[in-house]
Symmetry: D2
Subunit: 406 residues, 4 copies
Amino acid sequence: MDLGISARLAPVLREVADMVSNEIAPLDAEYFAQVEVGDRWTHNARQLEIIEGLKSKAKDAGLWNLWSPVTGHAFSTVEYAYLAEEMGKAHLAPETFNCNAPDTGNMEVFEKYGSDDMKSRWLEPLLAGEIRSAYLMTEPDVASSDATNIALSCVRDGDDYVLNGEKWWATGAGDPRCAVYIVMVRTATEGPRHQQHSMIVVPSDTPGIEKLRAMQVFGDDEAPHGHMHIRFTDVRVPASAMLLGEGRGFEIAQGRLGPGRIHHCMRAIGMAEKALALMSRRALAREAFGKPLAQLGGNFDYIANARMQIEQARLLCLKAAWMMDQGDARAAAPWISQIKVEAPRIALEITDQAMQMHGAAGISQDTPLARQWAHLRTLRLADGPDAVHRRQVARAELKKYTQEKI
Amino acid sequence: MDLGISARLAPVLREVADMVSNEIAPLDAEYFAQVEVGDRWTHNARQLEIIEGLKSKAKDAGLWNLWSPVTGHAFSTVEYAYLAEEMGKAHLAPETFNCNAPDTGNMEVFEKYGSDDMKSRWLEPLLAGEIRSAYLMTEPDVASSDATNIALSCVRDGDDYVLNGEKWWATGAGDPRCAVYIVMVRTATEGPRHQQHSMIVVPSDTPGIEKLRAMQVFGDDEAPHGHMHIRFTDVRVPASAMLLGEGRGFEIAQGRLGPGRIHHCMRAIGMAEKALALMSRRALAREAFGKPLAQLGGNFDYIANARMQIEQARLLCLKAAWMMDQGDARAAAPWISQIKVEAPRIALEITDQAMQMHGAAGISQDTPLARQWAHLRTLRLADGPDAVHRRQVARAELKKYTQEKI
Amino acid sequence: MDLGISARLAPVLREVADMVSNEIAPLDAEYFAQVEVGDRWTHNARQLEIIEGLKSKAKDAGLWNLWSPVTGHAFSTVEYAYLAEEMGKAHLAPETFNCNAPDTGNMEVFEKYGSDDMKSRWLEPLLAGEIRSAYLMTEPDVASSDATNIALSCVRDGDDYVLNGEKWWATGAGDPRCAVYIVMVRTATEGPRHQQHSMIVVPSDTPGIEKLRAMQVFGDDEAPHGHMHIRFTDVRVPASAMLLGEGRGFEIAQGRLGPGRIHHCMRAIGMAEKALALMSRRALAREAFGKPLAQLGGNFDYIANARMQIEQARLLCLKAAWMMDQGDARAAAPWISQIKVEAPRIALEITDQAMQMHGAAGISQDTPLARQWAHLRTLRLADGPDAVHRRQVARAELKKYTQEKI
Amino acid sequence: MDLGISARLAPVLREVADMVSNEIAPLDAEYFAQVEVGDRWTHNARQLEIIEGLKSKAKDAGLWNLWSPVTGHAFSTVEYAYLAEEMGKAHLAPETFNCNAPDTGNMEVFEKYGSDDMKSRWLEPLLAGEIRSAYLMTEPDVASSDATNIALSCVRDGDDYVLNGEKWWATGAGDPRCAVYIVMVRTATEGPRHQQHSMIVVPSDTPGIEKLRAMQVFGDDEAPHGHMHIRFTDVRVPASAMLLGEGRGFEIAQGRLGPGRIHHCMRAIGMAEKALALMSRRALAREAFGKPLAQLGGNFDYIANARMQIEQARLLCLKAAWMMDQGDARAAAPWISQIKVEAPRIALEITDQAMQMHGAAGISQDTPLARQWAHLRTLRLADGPDAVHRRQVARAELKKYTQEKI
């Protein structure tokens, strides 16, 4: 169980880390400031210059599509996990390396389950970073923590499917470059509970699609990407848009979610490291009562606890990645649930303490901490709330001792 | 030690509670939506209609300046605490009853320490709700947790004082109706550490005052009130603007902060109650895995813990208020420190759990929870961070056992 | 809602506090040492001298049966709560004032529900401190958290009842002075779930009663009182031993448990105060790295948190006592559940931190902390585990919003 | 960074795990019961039969001195860590495999720093399991958290050293088989603070050694091993008993403590696993309110959290072991501090929850949980309290950002 940095990973990791801290992170603030210049929901010229410039550099350096097991470096999940951690340290980093969610997950779906037509129409431009995509799962009217509740209807009508209903929290769908959606739909109301749903591919400009609003995260609409609330009214796509076949939605979802969750979690570890670094520097630089903050009250404890939490959570993520690399997704599932709970939890706690160490600056625009906190808070809900994942971990544990359904 | 609802308070409390839930809370959302209509930093016509309409109703009902021990009902601190709790349940409630911070504290300062001229120029229109005020304490370049660090210079020059330096987090100073600032300044660099500072009254339109920017709280600039970052360049005020005399800044600050902290804390209790109510309703209304959320996992525990935390924190606030009512501010001080730590802490925790119970809706604009959370988070920093208050509580405890300085 | 120390309580409270700290606490250690001298399960001469000497002094001072609403001072529950807190600070204190569990609860049962014969045979010597009693509820083979599981059979046979089954954790039943048991039994297996049980009075020397062993608490058998595991084999008592009538066991239990739980909780608050005092003194007296421990690391925070937890938990207990004094036991029930969770929880945490502040001495016989911790740990289980009480609190909360059964 | 189970370890680990669960654990209860038969401080015939029988079996199976890097299997620290985890699951397991503390640490000291005479007189019989040893570090009158406080005096007198002072918590020194002590002494009162102490070898039967008492852990004296409080009065040993030379005590202590702490921590992980297994089985077997406990309240969460805590803490221990295996003890030190805090912490929490799931049985002699809890509680103090280790971790973190002394 080698959880270390492999020889072939080491130089790439160094390059990525350097680019993140030296070239990407310094541009984050300007990028955000530009959101307010011109139409908030379109990348303006300077924003495009920033992001396309970074992407070009990354491509030129061979640091492109690093996530993919089939293109480029073909890193293992463990190896990629270390890269994802570094990408957590700047807002623009994942997109720079064409490694941002939900595109990576969507690209994987197209790669594994897409038709040739889908591959040429959607996968190729996604791999090239020319378009963006969204993944439409959650719905406003049902408890998505139990995904069998999902209700957006998809009815066969001749050679077409017709979609009606609402989705929300469609991350990235506000971006005008977002050209395609993968949508979880209900195609049956009877039969086994996990075979009533399907995944279907819908171009974002299909008639009948209406973006109702951007969901706000602690007041931030996250323009220009956005988490969109979308209504489907008689949206019609050809039958060939169905992925894998009716009723196979959960099968695809399971395959899609594992790696994505590891990426999310390792980026969260990166954010935790960033918060700890900011907290440590502040503790040394700021004085009160005649001493650096580091020497006051429980600050040694906060710093020590942060370090201990990070080390443990990172190792757990790496072990989950290693489990994934062993090829048995079912065996890896409880490990994914574990990190899904633990990585955001500790990253939130450490970020909160880093904010507190900064005084009022910590919750303001003067540090990246408040934005980071809000983003991390979404991870306790996205892809299933903590409670659902704890439930999965507990049931896996109890199954060691009983044959009965728990 | 009567901590209950007095006979004379009961009917007023009922009226306030009814007005908050039936008339004020329903207008909060529209008021916030109107922020985006027209200049964000000016109240537009509809906003004025909303807030002035509510104020008129409150005045007509005799529910005005409820905080004041000298006007109106002359409630005790314990009595007012119950009212403040209700006002925590709607954003516009404190202003409706002319009970909002920092105006209440500023009015108290004028009442206790102001010259006749200050009373007629500032106190009267404040008591009438015609102008607003700000309190300028914190500075960007020093650790305000140790207020003896405060550095904004105030130098006597003939019959004037001249102010130079920066303040930030001047809450309410973005509001065009904000006409006057009370400013903590440094008037000496030698002598006893707690006698180098003073408080001075500065009209907000004095030349040399520059609003640099609005500080953001988790990305929200809180327009039109705002937490402003302000630069003073050779700002000149007459010597008569000095409150009480040079070197007496801390004396005034101490008198000012006690009641204000209790108000903040009781509003926080109100927010916690609101979060618990939302959490409970959601737990009953939403189903997953075939059951209402209430019956799943640890949700009983979250609800029970919330109830237990609220009851304890409320009683602690009431006891602190009762201590204040006994007239010995020095004896009450450690109690104020206690609630300053505990009330925001439990309100934050309960609000966070309420968000989680709501799924993604909980962190969005569809509930008041995320905004409430962000506001409560500021209370762990405003008027001294947790660590400073814990330090005060611990030192008060240890003094029981030693004569030595701890 | 007066939660303060009444004028008539004040002098009694002072006397009790003085006697606990000056006369009782100093004898605790010798009393425990004497357990090892002679038969561990009998009070030896010196033990009797200690405890009877203290009881005489208390009686002479009029500090006797302070718990009772009908004898002596007739204190309210709020008033008695303050006394119970002081009694928590020495092991021998409750017995000294004839206020120890489970005797107080048993005396209340006899007072309220006992026949004249029971009163003269059991209540009078109990009130005089001449005998001791036990309360037999919990059973080894059922989850007593759901008391409707209780199974010890009690069958009418002519003019007698015949009991068969096992009880454990019969506190005080190891004491040779323990003359009588009140036993929760099952008298029916059909009918409404809360009417199948009864309470019956059984002299401890009735044939067929067998003390199987003393249950140990963290290895301590707590001789000579003990928590006994007892077997009943054809134990025969006259029909007149039945309290109130068949099927009314839960009715009696409810009336019995409320005050007893408040007493337990206020004694726990007393223990928490004692731990905080020990922790504070140690923090000042012990040095490391050239400073008193108080000034190192997070020790200010531990002390402050302890103070804040104690104040809040005490106020909650006082409010629960006040609710009880209002006379509606049903309305008071969720408050009793709240303190049943919170008081032991905070007392355990503070005691644990006090142990840690003492280094290895803290877990040894050199401080009373380890013994106190073990005792407090039992309170998270006795009279219902935390989970059951949290469940009750949550259901009381949710009932505000629904008519349906939760 | 391979943290997995190596091919050569796998079969040995299986054998050890089998022997622990099938042969050793079932004898624990009888062994403890025998403590009360005859002299508590001597192994009686049955106790000797039990322990020597197990040792013979282990020797015959080649499962002997598994800890040693120079005898037997020469396992790496990572490999041995897995074995130590299994040994945590039965009280008698460490001694069975001649892997118990403090003997392993003492044997390492003799191996690395002992003279030929010491090796033949002490190391050989220790390696053969014929004698036992103790390590005398902590003292009653100084804060041992700062080991430079250690005060037991050791003065050169001709060819001898003469020792005077007190030690306590000398684990294992109550055992009559304990033949030799390694003692940390003060040999200088001037000079660099970490060069004033030395380690010296003292036969346990040297005149002037007096065992004052056994320290109790939550009331348990842990006979016949015991944690002894020992007085040295003019205890005289030859100069050749000094290890390595005067002033080198800390040098030896550092080398000694690292592996020992990892062993302690991995045994703690084993205890946590045992507690989780007991908790899970109980959750399935016991019913209340008509359901298995597993399905009630927050029990899924407790079980899930336990699993997540264990996985993370184990990985952290394995990483610390791996750091140790890289050969740079200084670099490994903060990792050892991390696990010293985390492993006991999570094991205590999980054991506490397992107790709670068992109801009153959980704190009694009917499960091994209460004894295990008490033992784990000592680990938060032994070899330095949590606060000291957190301090070390924080300082290591802050050193990344400053050259100054923190």
